[in-house]
């Protein structure tokens, strides 16, 4: 009896041990038959797969002995972030090149998860070849940690049949909206993203820059309790109170706003460039009646849109020779030619100014070519390794101000206190 129990116990323990050791990732043979497998983790590009595959195949042709493997990531940015958080913290070395959202680069660099690429892509060269916004997002303390791949920027959509021209100031935007609304009952003025999520932070930062504010203060402190920030939140809240924006905006993310605009029920919309092709579809009620412009500002100069988009970085846990290969792959995927492929086939906006002058782009995608004036003014959200730590606080306090639960003063004071606590700033 006793022996049998011991046996049972022992087998239980063995099962437990097997289960535990089973958690360790099995090392797949990486250097099979003299070929190096280079693994690229990215989010699938929507569109026909062939042009992108051709781009990857060209790299393999130019680098015999390298086998390129792509692995898909979840599309939602925070899920992809979670994946990297656990994988890179665990020292995963089963992928070489990875995509990183603009707000992750300082964090991953500080954590030591992505390799310093300054040797292959010196910061000065990036500054010469790329727009300033994305370079600011990938250069941390004077070192390059990633290379911009494609980017996104917040822009203003307007109805060319309802307003005389794009508004330049906040005051103009509200006046144009009210005039158009007075003529067509049921029409809404300005739709944007007011739900508690990252998109709201993007909208708030645009308003903050538009009121002459800066995201970072002295010594890299995330600055919230400032006059421009108060004005920005008061402006956004005021849009709801005056009826220029519907109250439902507090539940809107990109798609809710786009649907209202696309059905022809709004005069203005703040969104990313992706909404353009939807608006121009054959069955779209607003086809041919939409214009796009930089966001307005308080002073009337063209506004700054929030920078979005993806960068390519190298996993710091892989061997030096793999890192060299990975850097070569990044150079290949971020070349002007690759920028063009992504723009022409996947409507991804190039991070290099020179591509916007390319006749092939101007011919086939005049819309993207025209985005240049907005892209060059794209600004990153506060560049700090703590961004993911503080974004939650920003979202909830911004949401409280926009929903009218707290005054801008109060919300910003609270946000500042919490952000200082998280980033370790002392008063």
């Amino acid at each position: 009896m006793g022996r049998r129990l011991t046996l049972l116990l022992a087998s239980g323990l063995i099962a437990l041990a097997v289960g535990v050791s089973g958690c360790r990732r099995s090392e797949a043979p990486r250097e099979a038959a003299g070929r190096t497998r280079l693994v690229f983790k990215y989010q699938p590009l929507w569109g026909p797969p062939a042009p992108f595959h051709e781009l990857l195949a060209r790299f393999e042709r130019e680098n015999p002995g390298v086998e390129l493997v792509t692995e898909a990531l979840p599309n939602a940015s925070d899920l992809a972030h979670q994946f990297f958080l656990t994988a890179l913290e665990g020292g995963a070395d089963d992928f070489d090149v990875l995509v990183a959202d603009v707000v992750w680069v300082p964090e991953f660099a500080r954590a030591g998860w992505i390799a310093d690429l300054s040797e292959h892509f010196p910061p000065e060269r990036l500054r010469a070849d790329f727009f300033p916004g994305p370079v600011d997002a990938v250069v941390v303390d004077g070192r390059t940690y990633a290379v911009p791949w494609y980017l996104d920027v917040g822009v203003l959509y307007y109805r060319t049949d309802l307003v005389p021209r794009a508004p330049r100031t906040y005051e103009e935007l509200q006046r144009f909206a009210r005039e158009a609304m007075a003529e067509a009952p049921g029409l809404q003025g300005y739709v944007w993203q007011g739900r508690q999520y990252e998109g709201l932070s993007c909208n708030v930062y645009e308003a903050l820059w538009g009121h002459g504010g800066e995201a970072l203060g002295e010594g890299g402190r995330v600055l919230l309790d400032s006059e421009p920030a108060r004005e920005a939140l008061a402006y956004l809240r005021g849009l709801l109170e005056s009826g220029v924006s519907p109250r439902t905006v507090t539940g809107f993310s990109e798609e809710e706003a786009r649907r209202v605009f696309q059905e022809g029920r709004a005069v203005f919309m703040r969104n990313w460039p992706y909404a353009w092709s939807e608006a121009q579809k054959p069955d779209s009620p607003i086809r041919g009646k939409v214009g796009i412009a930089p966001l307005p500002t308080k002073s009337g100069e063209p506004g700054w849109g929030t920078l979005g988009g993806w960068q390519l970085a190298v996993n710091a846990h892989v061997s030096p020779e793999r890192r060299r290969l990975a850097a070569r792959l990044i150079a290949h995927l971020t070349s002007p030619e690759a920028n063009l492929v992504l723009a022409l086939h996947y409507a991804r906006n190039p991070p290099r100014p020179v591509v916007y002058e390319d006749p092939r782009l101007r011919e086939a995608e005049p819309f993207i070519a025209n985005l240049k004036q907005m892209v060059e003014r794209a600004r990153p959200r506060p560049v700090t390794p703590y961004y993911n730590l503080i974004s939650d606080v920003l979202q909830s306090e911004f949401s409280a101000a926009v929903a009218g639960l707290r005054t801008p003063e109060e919300a910003l004071k609270r946000a500042q206190r919490q952000v200082d606590h998280l980033t370790g700033v002392r008063e």
């Binding site: 508690q196 439902t248 539940g251 993911n388 949401s399």
Partner: protein
Amino acid sequence: MNGGGSLERERRQAYLLVAPAVLVLAGVALYPILAAVWLSLHRFILVFGERRLTGLDNYAFLLSDARFWAALGNTAYFTLVAVAVELLLAVPLALLLNRAFPGRGLLRASVLVPWAIPTVVSARLWAWMFNPEYGLINRMLPGSDINWLGAPGYALHAAILVDVWKTTPFVALLVLAGLQGIPEDLYKAARVDGASAWRAFRSITLPLLKPALLLALLFRSLDAFRVFDAIYVLTEGGPANTTETLSIYAYKTLMRSGDFGYGSTLSVATFLCVVLLALVWLRLLGREEGAR
């Protein structure tokens, strides 16, 4: 003498027999809990490799953390209202399902459909229905332009509605099981005595149903207190954290921010609340058993 020795052996054997179960429980339940408690005593930011023991600092911050208290309030309110409504709806539903009528089996099965749909899927469906612009609910209430998921005050109630829709069938099933345990003779006797249907319900059904009701309350309140998926899909805790529950706060802190120290503190606090709730219910249940 001899009997005592065998008793001793039997006791030893009993310990041995439960040992594997205890071991497994320790491995999968006790260890993670203790690990979380240990983590909660640190400042531990995963990304930056910051890890140092800070003692009870996190707990001190917790006590003054307005967001924690707000989340606790939201969670308690959600649990109280959702479970109360579910129980009030489930009892009549169970009484109905307990009656004999053609097609009863089919109806009993179909009542469970909301319960069977994965929460994330049904929450997504509801999010579309709640959409103020093109959602079904505002279309069905002409003239209303309620911003269900975007207005503080409405959003939490919208989430409660989804939970009630989803879980009432489950509660009804628990109550139904209790109903079927009540002997038919009691009702017959009541009828002979000339008791009205209401009287029979009050004096026979309800008292005999009490253990089943308490069990349903136990299951549901513990579940509701840990609510995450439905609310996360509907609002992610917005607007302005007015629908943020303890689980969502803990998740955001742990997984989005990577702040493992304070995130664990929040998890431990949630765990303690649930344990407390469970103890209260179990005590009530125990008293019920004792009264029999």
